[in-house]
């Protein structure tokens, strides 16, 4: 099999064996869900309900006027118990709606979407936004923005991202195997919405079952489509690297895939869109992976948004080892959590529970170039790290620090165990702060 890939990157153990063969289980409705008012990249939402209101499953409960935003829907039928600050997996604390399950199971469903190919793209984009769709790969960028080509720009290619390169995570893989027909419907909606002429489905070659499945299914699509097997390498699922691997095009600095005529969406996003087209349910549930050596029974779960992590841990049978680190997302780009009270948000691809943390002695940089070879953005992480350490932020900016997407490959390979990604993150924040101020203060 010929495998496409991008230059750079790392080969780390995938740790996917914990959950790769475990079918998706549907998590029962919890007694309450906590829904932060910011679950996507963009503007925070304002609640459309108030404390004490009754809401139905699928009812829109928060929205905002801004273009880069996506509304929020209730994953449960029940009562709004409060709107107050609560744990947020990325932001520390953030205002959140708490909804208590009343057991009635009342639902508000949209009409199924038929005759997709004859719909107006603008209508479909609005329909996608109303469904609260965001990228479910992790970044949670609003999907309707991704499929809206700017005036004068032509989208020629749609890429469905089934790479799932983060270690431990298998939710996309399971969705590809078990929810493939809904993915194809969502794919048709997304393709029609952005106006692409052809589709590539990028899947890493360690997910052979998914590759074979989609190889057969793509023939029935109303547009040319092909599965592209990818080399198993991190960060193959990064949007820019996926476009390089499949099309050889490079997204310009600060740009979007739209700038090179491409739209990339995650397979799970396509599933969520397809599910809304079939069943009329907006984005109120997603599939996540719970994994790591600490869990008694690691699982792939379809969970309502807002489910609190401690409930999920109970479902997985608790610990076999006490975790020392809890990560939302994969271990490469995921965020370490302070509490088991965090809720599942739209961008949650999973939780990883680790007890064997790496122990690696720190040494001075020996300029071995491993970080440079690993960097998929052709940066010199060691140089940027030193600039950051010496607070030479203008030099860091001149050496393209803002091109860094914080994939973590440099820190991973560093034999001196220098936290390059962290240093670069600090430099990026400072460079952005200075550019906002418009001066070099």
């Amino acid at each position: 099999m010929r495998l496409n890939t991008f230059p750079g990157g790392i080969h780390s153990p995938t740790f996917k064996e914990f959950t790769a063969t475990k079918p998706i289980k549907e998590f029962p409705f919890p007694s309450r869900v906590v829904l932060p008012l910011l679950q996507h990249t963009g503007a925070p939402l304002s609640p459309l309900v108030k404390k004490g209101d009754r809401v139905k499953r699928g009812q829109k409960i928060a929205d905002v006027e801004a273009f880069i935003s996506a509304p929020l829907h209730s994953p449960l039928a029940g009562k709004v118990a409060g709107i107050e600050d609560y744990f947020h997996p990325l932001l520390g604390r953030f205002p959140a709606l708490t909804i208590e399950n009343d057991g009635s199971g009342e639902e508000e469903r949209k009409d199924p979407l038929c005759d997709i190919e004859n719909k107006d793209p603008a209508f479909l984009r609005e329909w996608i936004r109303e469904g609260g769709m965001v990228g479910l790969g992790g970044a949670a960028f609003p999907t309707h923005v991704k499929v809206s080509p700017p005036p004068g720009k032509k989208i020629d290619t749609f890429i469905l991202n089934g790479a799932e390169c983060e270690p431990y995570l298998t939710c996309d893989y399971r969705v590809m195997i078990e929810r493939s027909s809904a993915i194809l419907i969502g794919l048709r909606v997304l393709v029609k919405a952005c106006g692409a002429e052809r589709v590539f489905i990028g899947i890493e070659e360690n997910k052979i079952e998914a590759i074979e499945k989609f190889d057969k299914l793509v023939k029935d699509l109303p547009f040319p489509a092909r599965v592209v097997p990818l080399l198993t390498k991190y960060p193959q699922g990064s949007e820019k690297q996926l476009i390089v691997a499949i099309l050889g095009r490079e997204v310009p600095p600060g740009g979007l895939p739209l700038d090179v005529g491409v739209v990339v969406n995650n397979v799970q996003t396509a599933w969520a869109v397809g599910r809304m087209a079939e069943e009329g349910l907006p984005l109120i549930e997603r599939v996540i992976t719970l994994s790591g050596e600490c869990l008694k029974s690691p699982e792939n779960l379809q969970v309502p948004l807002g489910t609190v992590l401690s409930d999920l841990v109970d479902f997985c049978g608790g610990w076999v080892e006490t975790p020392k680190k809890v990560i939302m997302g994969g271990p490469m780009m995921g965020v370490a959590q302070t509490s088991l009270q965090v809720p599942v948000v739209k961008g949650t691809s999973g939780f990883v529970f680790l007890s064997n943390l790496y122990e690696k002695k720190e040494y001075p940089c020996i300029r071995c170039r491993r970080c440079i070879d690993a960097c998929p953005m052709r940066l010199f992480p060691t140089m940027l790290g030193k600039f950051s350490e010496y607070q030479a932020f203008d030099e860091a900016r001149d050496q393209r620090v803002l091109d860094c997407m914080e994939c973590g490959a440099c820190s991973y390979v560093c034999p001196s165990n220098i936290s390059l990604t962290h240093l670069i993150r600090l430099a990026k924040a400072e460079v952005m702060r200075r550019s906002r101020k418009g001066g070099n203060q």
Binding site: I246, E250, R367, Y412, C414
Partner: protein, 340 residues
């Protein structure tokens, strides 16, 4: 599940590769072992082992001393001092006086490394700094080659003096490079038509660890296979050296195989700390170091130019580091368009 957990909070990534600095240093030492063992066997234990041990001992000792004086944590466990000492020892002539490796080790560690701030901070390859100090201070001691009788070159001046070390009959002999410098390469080839083969396998006297091109290359291939080194610098070094040799009307292969060229290109010019991090810079670095080596060999007062060739290019590394590859996404290359 509401029990309190004590959770570690760090920023991503939360995984690390297993490769560490001491692991890398061990690989380099391993890669040098075949050439080291051959050197000891070829010249005899009595005239080599002590030199190597004193060299490694002095670099480690001086580094420990430096840590003590400047109240730094003991850094010899990172393994870099061992490599410096080994490289220095292997670049000394057999039967060198005992104080030569000691002085060289001190110069390498203090002048070459610690004065710049220790591991990772030095501009010049420490082993070569040590060697350069010895070369300019004691040129005679550094270019007198005592070898056991059958391996020497007869018929050229420089050969002839005889002595006895630990009961073994020894003679001094000129190296092929000094013969080539004094009499021309053709006379050397006439004296020994199989000179290139003997240089390749390591049957021609030279510095302790530099005689067998074959074993050094095996070591280098091992390092490359282990992902420790890249072939770009050695290759461009040989290209640079060959160009100068050919321009000077001499055999390129002879210049690559003789003296410290292989050792220099594969183990000294590729030193992480003192070679450029940028890919373009590395080619320029190698070409320059090889070319300067050739120019010194052909035109300079010294028969050998590896040391000063590499040291000169070391000085340019801070500049070469800035030759970054093209920025991602700036030239929108549409190279390998996939078809459905």
């Amino acid at each position: 599940m509401n029990e309190e957990l004590k959770l570690v909070i760090t920023s991503s990534p939360h995984l690390r590769d297993e490769i560490t600095v001491p692991w890398i240093m061990r690989q380099v030492v391993l890669a040098l072992l075949p050439a080291t063992i051959w050197g000891i066997y070829f010249f005899g234990v009595s005239s080599t082992l002590l030199t190597i041990l004193l060299s490694v001992g002095s670099t480690m000792g001086f580094e420990a001393l430096n840590c003590k004086i400047f109240k730094k944590p003991l850094s010899i466990t990172d393994g870099s001092a061992v490599i410096t000492g080994l490289l220095l020892g292997l670049s000394l002539p057999p039967s060198a006086p005992f104080w030569l490796p000691l002085v060289g080790g001190g110069a390498a560690i203090f002048l070459g490394k610690e004065m710049f701030g220790g591991l990772g901070q030095n501009i010049f390859n420490p082993a070569l700094v040590g060697r350069a100090v010895l070369l300019v201070s004691w040129p005679k001691a550094m270019s007198t080659w005592w070898v056991s009788a059958p391996f020497g070159f007869s018929g050229f001046s420089g050969g002839g003096a005889a002595s006895t070390f630990s009961g073994v009959e020894m003679v001094t002999t000129p190296t092929p490079l000094s013969i080539a410098q004094m009499y021309g390469y053709s006379s050397l080839h006439q004296a020994d038509p199989r000179i290139l083969w003997r240089l390749f396998v390591g049957q021609v006297p030279g510095s302790i660890g530099e005689i067998s091109a074959l074993l050094l290359l095996i070591g280098f291939v091992y390092l490359w296979w282990r992902g420790v080194v890249h072939w770009d610098i050695p290759l461009s070094y040989f290209v640079g050296l060959s160009c100068v040799a050919i321009l000077g009307g001499q055999s390129a292969l002879f210049h690559i195989l003789s003296g410290g060229a292989i050792m220099g290109a594969c183990f000294m010019a590729t030193d992480y700390v003192t070679s450029p991090i940028s890919s373009k810079g590395r080619y320029i670095f190698g070409l320059g170091a090889g070319a300067i080596t050739g120019v010194i060999r052909l035109l300079g007062a010294y028969p050998e130019g590896v040391t000063f060739g590499i040291l000169t290019m070391n000085a340019l590394v801070p500049f070469l580091d800035y030759l970054l590859p093209p920025r991602f996404g700036v030239k929108n290359q549409m190279v390998k368009e996939e078809k459905i």
